[in-house]
C-alpha cells in the first residue's frame, strides 16, 4: 500500500482503484451481520467460496462478506451484483443454483426473491423491496456495496474526500461552523448538539485533548451502531478524524464491546489500513495533522456506556461514573478535555462536510435534523435496521417498514431507549420520530432502539424486567440508584406475583422521583423512566394487578 501525501494523491489513488474495478463483473455480496451469521450465513459464505473454486470461477466472480443490510428478519441475505438481485433466506443448498442460474445465466430464481406477504408480488432488486425502498439510507446504504475489510472499497465510494476537504480547504473553525449549522444532535441518547460539545472541548484549556467513539451500545434491543460500524468502519473513522482536527485532538479512543468479534476485527483492520495509507498517524495526508486511535473494550457491564464511567474504563479503572459538574468536554479522560460521541453521530460528519450543512438541515424536522437509524425488534414482522428521516411517523416505522405485528395480534405500545427510555401507547403512534416530541411524551429516543410490544405483553412485568436488568448493570455506588432499584424491583415483583398492596404505586412514584433527582449519574437518573412512562399510560394495568389480583395481559403467574 502506498502512503498518500496530499489531497491530489488521494484522488489519484481513488482513480486507480476505480480503474481496476469492472462494473460488469459479477459480485456476490453476502450479509455477514450478526443476525445473518446466526442464521447460518457463515456456511453460505463457505459454500459460495467452495462452489466458485470447484467451477474455477474465482477470477471471474467477486465475493464479499458485508456488514448488515438491514432486513434481518428474512436473512440470510445475499445480493448478486451488478443486477442487485436480492435473495432471502438463502441456505448452502441454494448456492450451486444461484451461481448457475443467476451469476452465470443472469436469470432470477423466483423462489428466493422477496414476496410481498399481502399481494404476493415478487421483487428481485434489493432497493425495490418495500422494506428498503422507502428508507433514506444515507448512512447504512453503502454497507451491501462495501467489503468492510478493504479500505479500497470505501475509497471507491468517495471515502475520505470529506477528510481531505476539511484538512486542506477548511479551518477547524469552519468545520465547527458547518457542524453547528447542520444542527447535528448526538445519536447516543441525549440528543445534545454535537457542535456545542465540540466547541466546548475545542475552547477548553489544555494541550492534550481526546476524542472518543462510544460504540458500547449496551441497551438491549439496540444493534444499529454495531451494524453500521461493522459494515462501514471507515465512515465512522473518517468522522472521528475530522472531529479530532476540529477540536485539536491528537489521540482518539474507540470504546466497544468485547463480545462482537467481527466488529473488533473490522475496526482493527480499518485502523491498520488507514494508517498504512497515511489517513491516520503522523502527518495525515501530508497536512501536518497527527492523530492516533486506540481501541478499548467493555467486558460486560451496562454502566460503562455512561460517558464518565467509560472514561474511567479507558484509564483502566472500575467503570464508576463521576458527577459532571465539570463537563467531560473540559475534564474527561485523565482530567483532560474529552469529546465523546456515539457511532452514528460520528458517521454523520463526513456527509455534512461533503454536502454542506444546508443540504443536511433540509432533512428532518425543525429541531431534529438528518436521518436516524432505528433497530426494530420485539413483536414485529420485520426485525432489522431501518434508516429514515427524522420526522417519520412512528406508525410508518411499525407498519410500513416493520410490516406490522405478527400472528394477528394488536399493537400495544412501542418502547424506545431500553432500560433508560419509555413506552408510547398505540394510541399515540401518529407522532413523529423527533428528539423533543418523544421526550415530551415521556419516552426519550435513546440510541434509536424501538421495541414493539403486542397485546400479550404485561407492562408491569416489562417495568420489572428493566429494573431487574439494571440491578445487575448499575455500578452500585450511589444510594438512590442502588437502593432505589432494589426497592422498586421488590415492589414490582410483588405486584406481578399478586402480592401488591394499596399504596404501592404511590411508593413507586416517590422512589422514582428521588432516584431521578438525586442519583449520581445519567444512568441513575434515568432508571425510573420506563416505569414512570408505563405508570403514565398503563396505570390501570398496575391497578388491576394490585386491586383485582389480575393480569390484564394474562402474562403474570400468581401463586
Amino acid at each position: 500500500m502506498p502512503r498518500i501525501n496530499s489531497a491530489a494523491e488521494l484522488e489519484e489513488l481513488r482513480k486507480s482503484i476505480l480503474a481496476q474495478k469492472d462494473p460488469d463483473k459479477p459480485c456476490i455480496a453476502i450479509c455477514a451481520g450478526a443476525s445473518c451469521l446466526g442464521l447460518g450465513n457463515d456456511k453460505v459464505i463457505s459454500a459460495f467460496e467452495e462452489e466458485l473454486r470447484k467451477q474455477s470461477l474465482e477470477a471471474k466472480v467477486d465475493i464479499r462478506a458485508t456488514g448488515c443490510h438491514g432486513f434481518c428478519e428474512k436473512g440470510p441475505s445475499v445480493v448478486i451484483y451488478p443486477e442487485e438481485i436480492c435473495y432471502l433466506q438463502v441456505t448452502p443448498a441454494d448456492v450451486p443454483e444461484i451461481i448457475a442460474q443467476t451469476v452465470i445465466g443472469k436469470k432470477v430464481i423466483d423462489r428466493l426473491i422477496y414476496t410481498d406477504p399481502n399481494t404476493g408480488a415478487k421483487v428481485a432488486q434489493q432497493s425495490e423491496i418495500p422494506f428498503y425502498k422507502n428508507q433514506t439510507r444515507l448512512l447504512i446504504g453503502n454497507s451491501p456495496k462495501i467489503n468492510p475489510k478493504n479500505i479500497d472499497d470505501y475509497l471507491a465510494m468517495g471515502g475520505y474526500a470529506a477528510l481531505a476537504k476539511a484538512l486542506f480547504e477548511m479551518s477547524p473553525q469552519e468545520v465547527l461552523g458547518e457542524i453547528k449549522l447542520a444542527n447535528l444532535r448526538g445519536r447516543g441518547g441525549g440528543g445534545f448538539p454535537a457542535g456545542s460539545k465540540w466547541e466546548t472541548a475545542r475552547n477548553a484549556p489544555g494541550e492534550e485533548k481526546y476524542v472518543i467513539v462510544n460504540a458500547h451500545e449496551g441497551e438491549p434491543g439496540a444493534f444499529m451502531d454495531r451494524a453500521l460500524f461493522t459494515g462501514n468502519p471507515h465512515l465512522v473513522l473518517e468522522g472521528l478524524i475530522i472531529g479530532a482536527y476540529t477540536i485539536g485532538s491528537g489521540q482518539g479512543f474507540i470504546y466497544t464491546r468485547h463480545d462482537t468479534p467481527v466488529l473488533r476485527e473490522n475496526i482493527d483492520l480499518a485502523l491498520a489500513q488507514a494508517k498504512e495509507y497515511g489517513l491516520l498517524g503522523d502527518n495525515i495526508l501530508g497536512s501536518g495533522f497527527d492523530f492516533n486511535v486506540e481501541v478499548h473494550l467493555d467486558v460486560g457491564i451496562f454502566v460503562s456506556g455512561e460517558s464518565s464511567a467509560l472514561m474511567r474504563s479507558i484509564e483502566g479503572k472500575a467503570p464508576e461514573p463521576r458527577p459532571k459538574y465539570i463537563r467531560t468536554s473540559v475534564s474527561g479522560v485523565w482530567d483532560r478535555p474529552t469529546n465523546l460521541n456515539n457511532v452514528e453521530t460520528w458517521a454523520n460528519v463526513p456527509q455534512i462536510i461533503n454536502q454542506g450543512s444546508q443540504w443536511y438541515s433540509s432533512i428532518g424536522t425543525e429541531r431534529s435534523k438528518g436521518t436516524k437509524l432505528i433497530s426494530l425488534s420485539g413483536n414485529i414482522c420485520n426485525s432489522g435496521v431501518v434508516e429514515v428521516p427524522m420526522g417519520t411517523s412512528l406508525k410508518d416505522i411499525v407498519y410500513d417498514f416493520g410490516g406490522g405485528i405478527p400472528n394477528g395480534k394488536q399493537l400495544k405500545a412501542v418502547h424506545f431507549g431500553g432500560p433508560m427510555g419509555g413506552s408510547i401507547p398505540a394510541s399515540l403512534i401518529d407522532n413523529p420520530l423527533d428528539f423533543d416530541v418523544l421526550t415530551k411524551l415521556g419516552a426519550s429516543l435513546g440510541a434509536g432502539d424501538m421495541l414493539v410490544l403486542d397485546e400479550d405483553i404485561c407492562m408491569v412485568d416489562l417495568a420489572r424486567f428493566f429494573l431487574e436488568f439494571l440491578s445487575g448493570e448499575s455500578c452500585g455506588k450511589c444510594v438512590p440508584c442502588r437502593e432505589g432499584i432494589r426497592q422498586m424491583l421488590k415492589i414490582l415483583t410483588n405486584i406481578s406475583t399478586g402480592k401488591g398492596k394499596e399504596g404501592d404505586i404511590e411508593l413507586l412514584e416517590d422512589l422514582a422521583e428521588v432516584v431521578s433527582e438525586a442519583a449520581l449519574c445519567s444512568l441513575g437518573r434515568s432508571v425510573a423512566k420506563p416505569l414512570l412512562s408505563m405508570l403514565k399510560y398503563f396505570r390501570d394495568e398496575f391497578e388491576a394487578h394490585i386491586k383485582e389480583k389480575r393480569c390484564p395481559a394474562l402474562y403474570c403467574t400468581r401463586s
Binding site: C72, P220, G221, G300, S377
Partner: protein
C-alpha cells in the same frame, strides 16, 4: 443472623480462595475437586499475556480479558500475579474482576450455554427457554453442573434480535428456539 448476610457468605469463600459468585453456586466442597482438576491451566500463555503488559496499570482490564479468553476463568493465583506484575493493588484487581460479567472467578464446565435475556428475546419467550434449560441441566445461571458438563449464563442483548429467543452453546447460535428444540440441542454435547 450475621451468618446469613451476603457479606458473610461471600467472605467465607474468599477465605478459601474462592469467589462469592462461586459460593452462591456451590457450597458443597465440590469446588476443591474442580479446582484441582483445573491446575492444568494454560500457564505459559497467561505468563506471556501478563509479561507483555508489565508495569502498565491502565492495561488491567485488557489483561484480564485476554486471560479470560484463553483460560475461561481467572484463578486466584493469576489475579495475584496480575496485581504484582502490573503494579496494581490486588483490591483493584478484584474490584475489576468482579464488576464485569465476562470475568469468571470459578472454573467453567466443558460447554458454556448462554441464553440471551435481552428485551427482544424476552418478549419472544426467553424465560421459557431459560426454564427449560434449567430443568434439563439442573443448574441456574452462574452455575456449573456436577459433571462439569454445562455452565449456564444469561447474557445481555447480542444484537441479533430477529433470532430471539436465542441461545448459544460454545459460541454456536441456536435461533428462534422453541422449548421442544432445546432438549435436542443439548443432547448433542458430551
Amino acid at each position: 443472623m450475621k451468618g446469613d448476610t451476603p457479606g458473610a457468605l461471600g467472605l467465607r469463600l474468599w477465605g478459601r480462595g474462592m469467589s462469592p459468585t462461586y459460593a452462591r453456586a456451590d457450597s458443597s466442597g465440590l469446588g476443591e475437586r474442580r479446582r484441582s482438576r483445573q491446575k492444568a491451566m494454560n500457564s505459559d500463555k497467561i505468563d506471556q499475556i501478563i509479561n507483555t503488559h508489565q508495569g502498565q496499570a491502565s492495561s488491567l482490564i485488557q489483561v484480564l480479558m485476554e486471560i479470560q479468553e484463553v483460560n475461561h476463568w481467572l484463578p486466584r493465583e493469576v489475579l495475584e500475579k496480575v496485581s504484582e506484575q502490573l503494579e496494581v493493588p490486588l483490591s483493584r484487581v478484584l474490584r475489576i474482576a468482579t464488576i464485569y460479567k465476562t470475568f469468571s472467578l470459578t472454573p467453567k464446565g466443558r460447554h458454556e450455554v448462554h441464553i440471551c435475556t435481552g428485551t427482544a428475546c424476552k418478549v419472544r419467550g426467553a424465560q421459557r427457554v431459560l426454564d427449560k434449560v434449567q430443568n434439563l441441566t439442573g443448574i441456574k445461571p452462574g452455575e456449573t453442573d456436577m459433571d462439569d458438563k454445562f455452565s449456564l449464563e444469561t447474557v445481555n442483548c447480542q444484537g441479533c434480535c430477529t433470532l430471539g429467543p436465542m441461545m448459544q452453546i460454545d459460541g454456536k447460535t441456536h435461533s428462534r428456539m422453541s422449548p421442544a428444540e432445546i432438549a435436542d440441542a443439548l443432547k448433542k454435547y458430551e
